[in-house]
Structures are given as C-alpha cells and as structure tokens.
C-alpha cells in the first residue's frame, strides 16, 4: 500500500491487530490480524457480517479498547506506548467518536455537548470552525435545547458536530444511522460526507446499510476478524454484490463445519 503514492498519508493505521476474548478452546478471535491504513481526508466504511469484528476494530483504533497484540497508530502516535491518562487526552483531542445511540449527556444542552471535549481539554474553541460545523450540521436554532428535546436524527447530528468540534485527526462512527429512519439517516450521512469534502476531515464508519456505505470513498469488508475485501468509490449495487458474496462464503463455511 505504501507504493500507492497517490493515496494521502494515513490518519490512522492498524498493524497486524489481534484481539482475543477468552482462552483455550473457548477463545474468540474477534480480530485475527488486521492490517489497515485509513487515509486522511477520506470517508471509509467498514462492513461485514454481525460478529465479524467491526466494532472491536473501531474500539481498538479509537483508544477505547486495548488489542491483544499488534499496533495502532493515530496521527503518527503509537497507542501501545500510552498510559490511560494520555489515551484519555488523545481521545479528547485527536479522536472523535459517534455511537449508535446515547451519544449526548442529558443534563447538557446541544451546544454544551458539542463543546464538551474542548472544555474538558481546557482548550479555547476555534469559533470560526465551530460556526462552520454548526452551520453545516444545521442546528443553529436548536443549540439551547437538551437532548430529550431533540429528535433522534438531530441528536446524532449533534453527536457528529461534537466529534468534529476539536478538529480531530479522525472520526469513528459505529453504526451512526442504525437507529434512524432513512431521511434522518441521510441528513447525518450527508453531513459526514460534507465534513470530508468541504473540511478535509477523516471519517470511518461502521454500517450494515449499503446505501449508507455508498456515501463513502472506500468500503472495507471484514469477516471473522480479517479484512477480506475492499472497494473504492463504490456504487450501491457493487456493495450489495460483495455483501452477498461474503454471506454466501460464510454460509458455505458453516455448512462445511
């Protein structure tokens, strides 16, 4: 991959990443040696069957979990060398995260939620950047509201804005549209797309939805804890085709076993 001079420097990379739960016969290899570069300024989707290790990969790369072996680099920093305190600071300053649900602190307003990582870091927010993000997320008139007063889609957009507020090296989103209807989902996805195109952000998203994946520049397919396939500039049909193939493969394996 290093030979691909056209591709920009990676915002984050995983090198032979392994994560094993349990031991002996009952050991589960959630990640069985994943090597992956996530290029800066790109919107990457990670897809794969349930249990294939997508979330585990995200958590390891976002410094929320520690791998059993292998290395993770975010913005050139090797996470393996960091202590909890530095990992926390790294999450706060260099990584944005959007979960499937429950992304916001219920006692804080939308704008306070957006500013939370910055405030925790004690950094002065870059007002211009914030304005841009808030404008893009389209919630200027809702900033004073608490999460319970926002719709699910609005909450996820606030979460995206929060993830971007600190200008992170990379934003991880684990099924950010999983709980949303297609319209709200589209709002969130187009916002993520814009943040890559217009602001040069790096976004990685786990999704099961081919439509969602079609917003991305690249789709990486995972199966049984390994990267098995990838497509660049995918079309929806292409993605569906790959997914079906993967599922067939998996089905064939289970019948074999």
């Amino acid at each position: 991959m290093t030979s691909e001079t056209s591709s920009p420097a990676p915002a984050a990379r995983a090198i032979d990443l392994r994560k094993t739960y349990g031991s002996g016969d009952s050991a589960v290899h959630a990640l069985a040696g994943v090597t992956l570069d996530l290029e800066a300024g790109r919107f990457t989707a990670i897809m794969g069957p349930s249990g294939s290790g997508k979330s585990t990969l995200m958590h390891c790369m976002a410094a929320l979990d520690t791998p059993s072996s292998g290395a993770v680099e975010v913005g050139g920093t090797d996470l393996g060398r960091l202590k909890d305190k530095d990992l926390t600071a790294l999450r706060r300053e260099r990584i944005g995260f959007v979960f499937q649900a429950f992304n916001l602190i219920p006692t804080l307003t939308a704008s306070e939620n957006i500013l939370l990582p910055l405030n925790l870091a004690g950094h002065k927010p870059d007002q211009e950047w914030l304005d841009t993000v808030i404008e893009a997320v389209g919630l200027r008139d809702r900033l004073g509201h608490r999460p319970t007063e926002l719709s699910g889609g609005q909450q996820q957009r606030v979460a995206c804005a929060r993830a971007l507020a600190s200008k992170p090296s990379i934003v991880f989103a684990d099924e950010p549209t999983g709980n949303l209807d297609s319209t709200s989902g589209a709002e969130v996805l187009s916002f993520l797309r814009r943040s890559v195109d217009d602001f040069g952000q790096t976004v990685v998203m786990v999704t099961h939805d081919a439509v969602a994946a079609s917003y991305c520049d690249r789709v990486v397919f995972l199966a049984d804890g390994l990267v098995v396939d990838e497509i660049r500039n995918p079309k929806r049909e292409q993605i569906l085709e790959h997914m079906t193939r993967l599922q067939d493969l998996a089905a064939a394996r289970t019948t074999q076993a």
């Binding site: 909890d84 706060r92 429950f102 006692t107 306070e112 990582p117 925790l120 004690g122």
Partner: protein, 846 residues
C-alpha cells in the same frame, strides 16, 4: 414471590449493606442506650439493695433532704441502740455515723473524685444487709479498728496512689480541715463496684471523732430483724423505742427512696441519651425512604415486567415491603450486637467522668432486644411504605417504555402543603414568642419540629437556589466538570433533597444548640458582669460547703480587706425544699440586690425572699415565714424584703448566724473577697491561690476566671451534645454514599460516554465528589438556616434566662467546612467505583 424477593436482595449486596448500615447504626445507638441505661440503674439497684439493712431508725425528714449537702446534728445515744437491740423483733442494732463533705486527697495533694459521683464517709459495723450478707466486702487488708485507721474503696486507693499502711490525706468540711488516717484495707460494695463514688470507711470511734466531735452518738441505727420477723413488724416495733424526732422505717422503703433519688438523676442521663438515639433512628428512616425510592425507580422496568406477567399490585408492593423486612431484620440484628459494644463504650466514657458502671450489669435484656427489633423493622417498614406503594403503581406498559423513570407527582402539591405547614409552624412560634399559655419554649419547640420535618419533605423545592448557586460556583471554579456536577445534583431535585435532608436534620439540631449555647455564654457574661461585684470569689468545684478555716486562711492574706462569708443549705417550707442562703454582715457592702420591696439590710429574725418564691408562697413584706432545717429545728422569720432573683443568693436569704441557731453546722459555701484600696490585684490573687492550695476542693476566681469556669462547663456539655449528634451526621454520610452509589449505577452509560469522549478518571472522580459536596452543602445550609432561626426563636422564648442573643458565626463556618469534608468523604467510594468502570462495558449497558 418470596424467592424472587430474596434473590433481589442477594443480587444487590452492596446496596443492601449500604442501606442496611443506616438501620444498623440507628438501632445500635438505640439498643446501646437501652442496655447502658439498664446497666446504669441495675448497678445502682444492686449497690442500694446490698447496702441497705432490714430497717433503719433515722431522723425524721431525712428522706426529703436526700439530695441536700447538709450534715445533720440530731443524734442517737448508744442507750437507744441498746434499747433497740433488746427488742424481741430485733436480732441486732448497729449505730451508724454518716459524714458529709469529707474529701479524699491523693498522696500528691490533689483531689480524688470530687466531680460527679459523691464521696461517702461512714463507720464500719458488722451489721448485715437485708439479704443477710455483709454490705461491703474487703478486697485487701482488714477493717479499721483504731480511730486513726481508714479503709478506702479500691478505685480511690488506686487513684490516690495509696498502699496499705500509707498515711491517707483527708480534707474535713469542718474546723481544722486537714486530717490523716492510716490505710488498713480496701473494700467495695457487695453489689459490685462503687458506681464511681469514693468511699471513706472509718471505725465507729474514728467516725465519731470526725463527724460528732468525739461524742459517743450515732446519726442513725441499722436494724437486723430476728428470725421470722418481717420488715414491717421490725419497723413498727422499733418505732415504739425511737426517740422523738426519729422514725423507724423498713429497709425496702429506704432502698426505694434511694432509688427514687438516684433514679431522677439516672432518668436525666437516660432520657438525654435516648433523645439522640431517636434522632439517629429518624435520620436513618429518611435514608431508608430515599434508598427504597431510588431502588424502586431503578427497578420500575423489572417491576412493570412482573405486572405484565400477571403479578397484582399488592404482590409487587408486598414484595418490596418484604425486602424491607428482611433487610431491616438482618440490620437490626447486627445493630443490636453493635449496640452492646456501644453500651460498653458509653460505660467507659462515663467511667472516665466518674460514674462507674459494673460491666457485668451491661447485659442484653429481652426488653431492649425487642424494642430494638420493633423500632428497626418498624421504622424501615414505615419508611419503605410509600416507595413500595409507588412500586405497585408502576404500569405494566412501563416495561415497554425506554424511559424507565416513573411518572412524578407534581412538586406543586408538595410545595403548597409544605407552605401551609410552615405557616402553621410560624403561628406556633408567634404564640410562643408573644407569651401564649404554657411554656413559651414548648410552642417554639413544636414549631421547630414542624419546620424541620416539612423542610425535609420539600427540601427539593426550597433547596433549589442552593443547588443552582453550587452549580454556578462549581462551574466557575472547576469548569465543565463542576458544571456537570451541578447539573447532576439538580437533575433529580427530589433525590438530592431527600439525601440532603438527613444531614439537614443533624445540622439543624447542631445549629440550634450552638445558638443556645452561645447565647447562654453571652448571658453568663452579662450576669457575671452585673453580679460579680467582689474582687475575688471562692467556691468549691462542686458547690459543696467547705470548712470555715479556708476563709480564716484567706483573711490573713496581705491586701485582703474583707472576706464575706456565705453558707447555702436546704430547708423545708410547706413540704417543698428551698435553697436558703446565710449571709454575713459584709455581704451588704459587696452586693446590691435588686430590691422590689423593703430593704436589703436585715435585723434579727428577718429574711429576704425572691419575687418567684414570694409568688409561690403568697408572701409580702411583713409576712411570717417558717423554715424547717435538717436538724429538725425551725426558724420563725419575718419577710423584710422581696428582691429580683439573682445568682448571688438563694430563694431565701437571711443573716448567717441564724443558721447556726437552726442547728446547721457552720460551714462556708462561698467567700467574697474585697481588697484593700490600692492593693495589687494580681499579686493578691496569686497569694490567695497559694493560700487556698492546701484545700483543692476550693478555687479562687476573679471575675474573668469565674465567667470562664462557667463557660467551660457550658462548652463541655455543648461538645458532648455535638459528639452525640455526630452520629446522626455519620448516618447522613451513609445516606449520601448510598444515593451517589445508586446514581453512579444508574448513570453507568453516561459515565462511559464521558470517559469515551475524553474525561479523565481524575475529573470523573472530581465530578462525583462535587456532586456529593453539593448535596452536603445543601443539607448544611438548609439545616443551619433552620437551626439558627429555631435557636433565635427559642432564645427569645427563654429570654428571662438567656438575656443576650449570641450567634456562633465561627462555629457555623466550621459546620459548613465540615459539610464540605463530609461531601468529599461520602464521594470516595462512589467515585472510585465510577472511575473503575470499563468504558466499553459502560457504554454497552442498557
């Protein structure tokens, strides 16, 4: 359902332990106090019964003077004793000599005992108690035989650092005050110990030398009944022989009278302690309410599922109540055990101040155990009742709802009811202050009770401003972390308020007491300022009379112009006991009484009385007044003046020499010293101190020292009360730990999210600590405001005694600091728990 309840309990061990702890402590205090009180009275009972014979011949009216510090001068001759012994109903008669006011000095000259428990001096005889056993048992040596021999109780010999054969130093209340005797043995009451009293046992001859000027006579006679003769028959027969002025009574009656006299004093101690135990239990009850409310709220989904599966409302309510019963029964059991230890602790504490309780008297009796269980389980059930009912009301559909918080009944209703109750309290307080019927302080006390309980119920409403202030302050000081903490405290105001209530009750009481004590101190200063008109005052540490030789010594000090002598004693007027003060002629030169009628200077058989005494006995200037003294002699007096009561004299004031006529042995209770003009007060003060050194029971005070000595006593009591209220505060801390712990569990996901987006462990801990501090400060501020208001009103109601209002501003500040510390401490466990949460697992929690 029972199985499910038990499983529920076991599934939440930590919560169980924490909520149980509040009950454990409350019950422990209660049962500890009950066991201690029982031990206290049984200690005295066994001493009283083991030292009382079948019957006693004694001076009439002895019983009514039980507490008086006066020595009787009426005596019985040995012939009477012999006559009594000859009666067929009497097996043996022993003449007793009883000395009052004798003190024991340690080998280094300091006073032994003298605080709290009395020093008893008497002669040793072989007469048995009513059970036929010797009333006292020797621990070492032998009984005194010669006049200059003495037996002490074990503790006294120990404290005085005396061994057998040593010369024991004594301080007599009469004449030549310094005496010595050789220690020949040590002993204890047959009933066990001495309850802290110091015992001086002499031979009959020795006691007669000391207390009867060597006359062969007795103060009373102990009778032992012949075989088959009842106590009543014995007393009846002895009465025929008793000379006039004496009476024969049964041993049972003597014992009962002693029990009554001691009982009043013991009741004060027991009631005092019991009040604090009840406070602790009430505070514990608040915590139970809160814990169960939170538990029910957190489990409402599960409860709804039960309902959806067909459990009836009653079954759900009962299952929660059953949980409460099981938990409180376990907690009460632990509490009773702990209480038994606490009783030992209390006993050790009282031993330190001179009240010795036999440790085998501290037994868990059935009564205490039953009361403790009933209170522990009862309070828990009452406290859990509302939450349990709320649990029954959870609708089955709630199982399907994402938001598990049950519908809240509006705060408005509470606010309105609370407002009405506070208004009712105000009415009571106004009645109290404007002098309604009955004692003013009772009215204010009722108002105080209403206010405290109402404030506890609506603390969520009235506490809001405090929490908003905390949020602002924390936000400013600690940024986002502080802001989040403030928000969390405000998020469920009812929970925060209920948690703070426990602390509020404790601090309200502490502040009330603080205001009263400070006012009392200020008032003491007022009184001393106004009434301490001599240059120096000499009194014994426990206000017992002392030998006139002390005054003689002080008179001889250079620079002393006058020593005015005053003697206090008790006398009977129309069946009630009154404090009578004999003043010498110099008194009028030093003290100016606030005369309402008549004049202060007295001639012949004249007396002054206070306005209160005059009202009680319908006296005016010129009225006759008859006082009967312990010696049986009476004084016929004429009221020459009525004065406003003061600390310088008792209710009746008369010329000192009249007391001697009434058969009261001449002693001094208080000496007022005036210096010669131009004398150096400091130098003379030192000389006076030196002259009084040989008599350690008295102290020489100047104005400042005197006020200080009173303040010291007040503060000692104050700190004791603070110490007892500290338990309520400990229980309140448990409440905060509990609520925070439950909140952390409830907010697991949120905490995970905060950690995920970059909140460090340190900040997370700080956030929880600040929330805890907010709760504690809320409780403290509400409690202090209410406490100060109550204190000020009570002071107003008691303004006759508490002439000045004092606000303990320094102490209030300390309380606030303590509240903050309490908050920090209470947060330790929940904060550690929160910061240990695994980020990923926390996020994944439903």
């Amino acid at each position: 359902m029972l199985k499910l309840t038990l499983r529920n309990l076991l599934a939440r061990k930590v919560r169980l332990v924490m909520s149980g702890l509040a009950i454990v402590l409350g019950v422990a205090f209660l049962s500890g106090v009950l066991v201690f009180s029982n031990g206290l009275s049984s200690t005295f009972d066994s001493i009283i019964y083991s030292s009382t014979p079948d019957g006693v011949v004694r001076a009439e009216q002895t019983a009514s003077f039980e507490a008086g510090p006066t020595q009787t001068t009426q005596t019985l001759s040995p012939e009477v004793v012999a006559e009594l012994e000859e009666l067929p109903e009497v097996a043996r008669a022993d003449g007793d000599v009883v000395g009052i006011g004798m003190s024991l000095l340690a080998s280094d000259g300091t006073l032994v005992g003298g605080t709290g428990a009395p020093t008893l001096a008497f002669n040793h005889t072989d007469g048995p108690n009513m059970a036929g056993e010797p009333p006292m048992l020797l621990s070492s040596g032998r009984w005194p035989a010669a006049a200059d021999e003495i037996v002490l109780d074990d503790a006294a010999a120990d404290n005085g650092d005396y061994d057998l054969g040593d010369e024991v130093k004594l301080l007599a209340p009469f004449g030549d005050s310094e005496r010595t005797a050789t220690l020949v043995g040590t002993a204890e009451f047959n009933g066990g110990g001495t309850a802290g009293a110091t015992l001086l046992v002499f031979s009959t001859e020795g006691a007669q030398d000391l207390f009867l000027d060597g006359a062969d006579a007795f103060h009373q006679v102990s009778l032992t009944a012949a075989d088959g003769v009842t106590q009543e028959q014995l007393a009846e027969a002895a009465d025929t022989v008793a000379p006039s002025g004496f009476e024969a009574v049964t041993g049972d009656q003597v014992a009962e009278e002693s029990q009554d006299a001691v009982g009043q004093f013991l009741d004060v101690i027991s009631t005092f302690l019991l009040v604090f135990a009840i406070i602790a239990v009430i505070v514990g009850g608040f915590i139970i309410v809160n814990t169960f409310t939170i538990l029910v709220a957190q489990r409402s989904r599960e409860l709804a599922l039960l309902r959806a599966l067909g459990a009836s409302r009653r079954q759900v309510t009962q299952s929660v109540l059953l949980e409460a019963v099981v938990m409180s029964a376990v907690a009460a059991t632990v509490g009773i055990g702990l209480g038994w230890l606490l009783a030992r602790g209390l006993a050790a504490l009282f031993r330190a101040v001179g009240l010795d309780i036999a440790s085998d008297a501290l037994t868990l009796d059935a009564g205490s155990v039953i009361i403790s269980y009933v209170v522990g389980v009862g309070v828990t059930l009452v406290a859990a009742f509302l939450p349990a009912r709320r649990a029954g009301k959870v609708a089955p559909v709630a199982a399907m709802r994402a938001d598990s918080a049950p519908a809240r009944d509006s705060l408005r209703r509470r606010t309105i009811i609370g407002g009405v109750l506070i208004a009712v309290g105000i009415v009571f307080a106004v009645i109290g202050i404007t002098g309604g019927p009955g004692p003013d302080s009772l009215w204010v006390g009722i108002a105080a009770g209403i206010w405290i309980l109402t404030a506890a119920a609506i603390s969520s409403v009235i506490g809001r401003p405090v929490l908003v202030l905390c949020r602002g302050l924390f936000g400013r000081l600690f940024g986002t972390t502080g802001r989040l903490a403030g928000e969390n405290a405000l998020r469920d105001p009812r929970r925060t308020g209920a948690t703070a209530s426990a602390l509020m009750i404790g601090l309200a009481l502490v502040s009330t007491i603080g205001v009263l004590a400070t006012s009392l101190n200020a008032s003491v200063d007022d009184v001393v300022d106004e009434e301490f008109t001599s240059d120096f005052l000499v009194q014994s540490t426990n206000f017992l009379p002392f030998s006139t030789s002390v005054g003689d010594d002080l008179e001889a000090v250079d620079g002393v112009a006058t020593v005015s002598r005053q003697q206090w004693t008790g006398a009977q007027v129309d069946d009630s006991t009154v404090f009578v003060t004999g003043n010498d002629a110099a008194f009028d030169d030093i003290y100016e009484l606030d005369m309402v009628e008549g004049r202060q200077q007295l001639q012949g058989n004249q007396a002054l009385v206070t306005t209160g005494f005059a009202d009680d006995h319908d006296l005016e200037v010129g009225s006759p007044l008859t006082l009967t003294f312990l010696a049986g002699k009476s004084l016929d007096l004429e009221v020459a003046g009525i004065f406003e009561g003061s600390e310088t004299t008792g209710d009746v004031s008369l010329p000192l020499d009249l007391l001697a006529d009434a058969g009261v042995p001449r002693q001094d209770t208080s000496l007022s010293i005036m210096l010669e003009p131009g004398a150096d007060a400091v130098a003379v003060g030192n000389a006076l101190d030196e002259a009084a050194e040989a008599t350690p029971i008295v102290a020489v005070y100047d104005k400042q020292e005197f006020a200080e000595s009173i303040r010291d006593q007040i503060n000692q009591l104050l700190y004791m009360i603070y110490g007892l209220l500290a338990l309520a505060i400990v229980i309140a801390v448990i409440g905060i730990v509990n609520t925070l712990g439950l909140s952390v569990i409830e907010r697991t996901r949120e905490i995970g999210l905060l950690r995920a987006i970059g909140m460090s462990r340190t900040r997370l801990r700080r956030m929880i600590t600040l929330e805890s501090v907010a709760i504690a400060v809320l409780g403290a501020v509400l409690g202090m405001v209410i406490g100060v208001i109550i204190g000020v009103l009570l002071r107003q109601a008691l303004k006759d005694d508490l002439t000045s209002l004092g606000l303990p501003l320094g102490q209030l500040l300390v309380f606030l600091v303590i509240a903050v510390v309490v908050g920090v401490l209470a947060a330790i466990l929940p904060a550690i728990r929160a910061s240990r949460l695994n980020v990923l697992e926390a996020i994944a929690t439903e």
